[in-house]
Amino acid sequence: MNKMANHPTSLNTDKHHAHLHRGVHRGPLEAYTLGFLLSILFTATAFFLTVEHAFPVSLLIALLMLLALSQFAIQLLCFLHLSREVKPRWHIFVFAVMTAAVLIIVIGSLWIMHNLNTRMMPSAKDMTAYMQSQTGI
């Protein structure tokens, strides 16, 4: 029996009802427990790294983002069972497209606003100098 397709919250339901009355499956419970424990571990690690200022700030930012993304992936796999989906994998396809949209929005916004900040927000001194040069004071 296909153990993978056997799960209540599995995004693929085709097999779900067919197996509704079968015996106890240990797979899903183990997946939930593993996901839960790893999430706790990652959250706690991120918390202590921050509180203790364990590393230089730039390294810390990278580590925290890495921990968050790992936890995101773990929960997608262990709680939402994204990997259990059978072909054609439409859920994963939509997820990938939306992730691309999300990355474009977030990275694009930060990039544009950073450029605006550095190029179009001169210091007061620069501003005065510029105004003086323009008005000939």
């Binding site: 339901t13 067919a18 939930y32 427990t33 959250t43």
Partner: protein
């Protein structure tokens, strides 16, 4: 209505073809709900982008470092994470059609959700009380918009859970109720996914 009600109460024992058609319908519904969640994901991304852009614009008000209590937020995070886990355990019970077990885990999930929401509102109330409401600065506006939207989702999830428990109580595990339980569990896990980033970006990174 008549036909709908009969179908609602249809037992799982059906001929293979009819059952296959119903399962197809269910997987389409679940896929549709997944697409909705993905659009929600994009909406949260916009709020995250807004927060990332505005988090330094404190307009003379307090910065994130000064107003957030990290241990408090850590407890909040564990509460929501545990509720996601107990929701999964409830779904396992639903899978085996164990009504009492489902009720136990869903009530635990519900209570954890309430605790989470109360903690969040306490935090909001404290901030507003100190004069740091969403009108104080761009940073606080984006903070309240992002975290408040997540809290609103949790609130809707809690209402949904009550409706589902009533349905399970009255109709037991019919096909429709089971499908709704699946949709709910996806929604609830999704809220925890969003919270990972709120915890990391809003609270931890701002504290550096």
């Amino acid at each position: 209505m008549e036909t709908k009600n009969t179908r609602e109460n249809t037992p799982v024992i059906l001929d293979a073809v009819a059952r296959h058609e119903m399962e197809d319908q269910d997987s389409v519904t679940i896929f549709g709900f997944w697409v909705y969640l993905m659009t929600d994901f994009v909406m949260f991304a916009c709020l995250f982008a807004t927060f990332a852009v505005l988090h330094n614009n404190t307009f003379g008000g307090p910065s994130a470092k000064e107003i957030f209590s990290l241990p408090f937020v850590l407890v909040e995070t564990f509460v929501l994470l545990t509720s996601s886990f107990t929701c999964g355990l409830g779904m396992l019970a639903a899978h085996h059609q164990k009504k009492k077990e489902l009720f136990f885990w869903f009530i635990v999930t519900f209570l954890l959700g309430v605790v989470f929401l109360v903690m969040e509102l306490t935090e909001f109330r404290g901030l507003i009380h100190e004069g740091n409401s969403f009108t104080r600065s761009g940073f606080l506006s984006s903070y309240f918009a992002l975290v408040g939207t997540h809290g609103l989702h949790v609130f809707i999830g809690l209402c949904w859970m009550v409706v589902l428990l009533v349905q399970v109580l009255r109709r037991s595990f019919t096909r429709h109720v089971t499908r709704r339980l699946i949709l709910f569990s996806i929604f609830w896990h999704f809220l925890d996914l969003i919270w990972i980033f709120i915890f990391t970006i809003v609270y931890l990174l701002s504290a550096l």
